[in-house]
């Protein structure tokens, strides 16, 4: 009968039982303010710094000061981290006459809309095109760098089509040219090995709820010495650089989550990519479908196909009725007029982009989930195509 398959882990993940267990003391009795000097406050502070160390470890940040890590800042999520890094770097470098930013056409909106805001302020932004597989090269970046370039911001892995960028190469180029380099690693953490030092990453954003921690918690890594102006001014939290009473429960959860996610990246990737590959193999033979993204340089849990003649939202609602949670780059799911800028960015025409389906896995998925998707998906597609005048037109042509 109907199974429940959550296959939208790129949108958000469930809080893992270990993470919730680690959070619970801080949601109940451990309510002290981490800035308070009494015991209840000090305990919260210690727990927070422990979590910070776990983040350091996961990102390859050297522990400059074991008692007081200085490069990891907790934020309210990936979006805030992206905004802070990009607006901060822009405003930091502008007085030096550097008002040019390099990014790609298919970043997350937290990056693209931030860049658009900066453009209105007078910054100039180069949006690098990506290949039809969704890749950008270090050479493209190098060619785009100008004497007035302040920042390169390129996502580690794409949230829709899962392509993984050559971050180390881009980092090396940025370093050689003395340009700040930020990467949105929200989708990459736990899926690919990250080392900010070896990969010359100056700033990195990540988000808890993509790795089984709570929503509303994230991190900005900012290399020591980069004096980013604050996005949120106020109290002395986060060494005076990010105000607001610290969300200890969520922070502790993030620490546990990132430690778990990064404990065995190859093992995790192997498990997820086995599911991914079986699903890709199962869908590929269907009529008029297209795998979006790169087959090899791809997040282990990401599957993204376009089905001609079908509209994404109708597809999602039908799958939902069958117990499958997925997402689409259709405009109709976003309330906007155009389908996903990512799919358009890799060159899909609108009508094909409308018919896209993204299925993303986590540790909580199984091969049975894949089998169930493969069992019901063809019927769903056929039914929608049977009532689609577009499909009629395509097949008659």
């Amino acid at each position: 009968m109907n199974r429940f398959v959550y296959a939208d882990n790129a949108a958000t993940t469930q809080i893992s039982p270990e993470v919730l267990e680690a959070m619970m003391p801080w949601l109940t009795d451990g309510y002290g303010n981490a800035s308070s000097i009494y015991k209840k406050g000090r305990e919260a502070r210690i727990a927070m710094e422990e979590a910070r160390h776990k983040v350091e470890k996961a990102l390859g940040i050297p522990q400059s000061r074991p008692d007081y890590p200085v490069e990891v800042y907790f934020t309210s999520g990936g979006s805030e981290a992206d905004n802070w890094a990009i607006k901060g770097a822009a405003h930091l470098m502008a007085p030096k006459g550097k008002k040019h930013i390099i990014t790609t056409v298919f970043e997350h909106h937290a990056v693209l809309h931030t860049c658009a805001t900066l453009e209105k302020e007078g910054f100039e932004v180069t949006y690098l095109p990506v290949s039809d597989k969704g890749l950008v090269t270090a050479e493209q970046v190098e060619q785009a760098i100008r004497p007035d370039t302040a920042l390169v911001t390129i996502m580690y892995a794409n949230n829709e089509i899962g392509t993984i960028q050559p971050i180390a190469e881009i980092g090396a180029v940025c370093k050689r040219h003395g340009v700040l380099f930020h990467t949105d690693a929200v989708q990459a953490v736990g899926n690919v090995p990250i080392n900010v030092v070896e990969q010359n990453i100056d700033m990195l954003s990540l988000s808890g709820h993509k790795i089984h921690a709570q929503k509303g918690i994230g991190v900005l890594y900012c290399r020591k010495g980069i004096r980013l102006p604050n996005l949120i001014d106020g109290g002395a939290q986060e060494r005076g650089r990010r105000a607001g009473t610290e969300n200890i429960a969520a922070i502790v959860g993030l620490g546990v989550a990132i430690e778990a996610a990064c404990a065995d990246i190859p093992g995790r990737a192997a498990k997820l990519s086995a599911m991914r590959d079986r699903l890709i193999e199962g869908i590929s033979p269907m009529e008029r479908v297209r795998l979006n993204g790169d087959a090899v340089r791809r997040l282990p849990g990401n599957v993204n196909f376009s089905f001609e003649g079908v509209e994404g939202e109708a597809l999602l609602l039908t799958l939902d009725a069958l117990g499958i949670c997925a997402s689409s780059g259709s405009a109709c799911t976003s309330g906007s007029l155009d389908p996903s800028h990512v799919l358009l960015g890799i060159g899909l025409v609108h009508e094909v982009a409308h018919g896209s389906l993204r299925l993303t896995f986590s540790d909580y998925n199984t091969m049975e989930d894949v089998d169930y998707i493969l069992e019901v998906l063809p019927g769903v597609i056929s039914r929608l195509r049977a009532m689609s005048p577009l499909w009629e037109r395509i097949t008659k042509a």
């Binding site: 003649g309 079908v310 509209e311 994404g312 939202e313 109708a314 609602l317 039908t318 009725a321 259709s330 405009a331 109709c332 799911t333 309330g335 007029l337 389908p339 025409v349 609108h350 009508e351 409308h354 009532m387 689609s388 005048p389 577009l390 499909w391 009629e392």
Partner: protein, 145 residues
């Protein structure tokens, strides 16, 4: 963005899906680029809509409004069908999210376009009855509705 139960019912079990071989009024509106195409088939006899069927490429609301609109005109006279407004469809569906109102407009247009086709086939200028219809290929207009 939340659909009413009625919308979900019409989406999940759409009424009148399909084609009519011997339709005497056919209309298609919307376009693939915008992600919505609706095609209506009418079988009209003695000024009464004896049968109606639709095919739709589009989102949940597009399918549900097509289904509801066909139900609302089936068995009605052409005159009554001409009076069907998009707001009547929205109301019958117990509301639509703001971003989906354009689907109901598309459904109204699809019916009007099919009725215009019926008049034309009868050798009658449809304009006095259905008014000026937007060219379904005016992509921008359609997308921005």
């Amino acid at each position: 963005m939340l659909y009413s139960e009625k919308v979900m019912d019409h989406f999940t079990n759409p009424r009148n899906v399909g084609e009519i071989e011997d339709a005497n009024g056919v209309g298609e509106v919307g376009n693939a680029k915008c992600g919505d195409i609706m095609k209506m088939y009418l079988k009209i006899e003695n000024g009464v809509i004896e049968d109606v069927k639709f095919k739709t490429f589009g989102c949940g609301a597009a399918i549900a409004t097509s289904s509801m609109a066909t139900e609302m005109i089936k068995g009605k006279t052409v005159d009554d069908a001409l009076k069907l407004t998009n707001s009547a469809v929205v109301e019958a569906l117990e509301g639509l999210p703001p971003v989906k109102i354009h689907c109901s407009v598309l459904a109204e247009q699809a019916i009007k376009t099919a009725l215009a086709d019926y008049y034309t086939r009868q050798g009658i200028d449809p304009t006095p009855f259905v008014g000026e219809l937007k060219d379904p290929d005016e992509e921008h207009l359609a997308c921005e509705m």
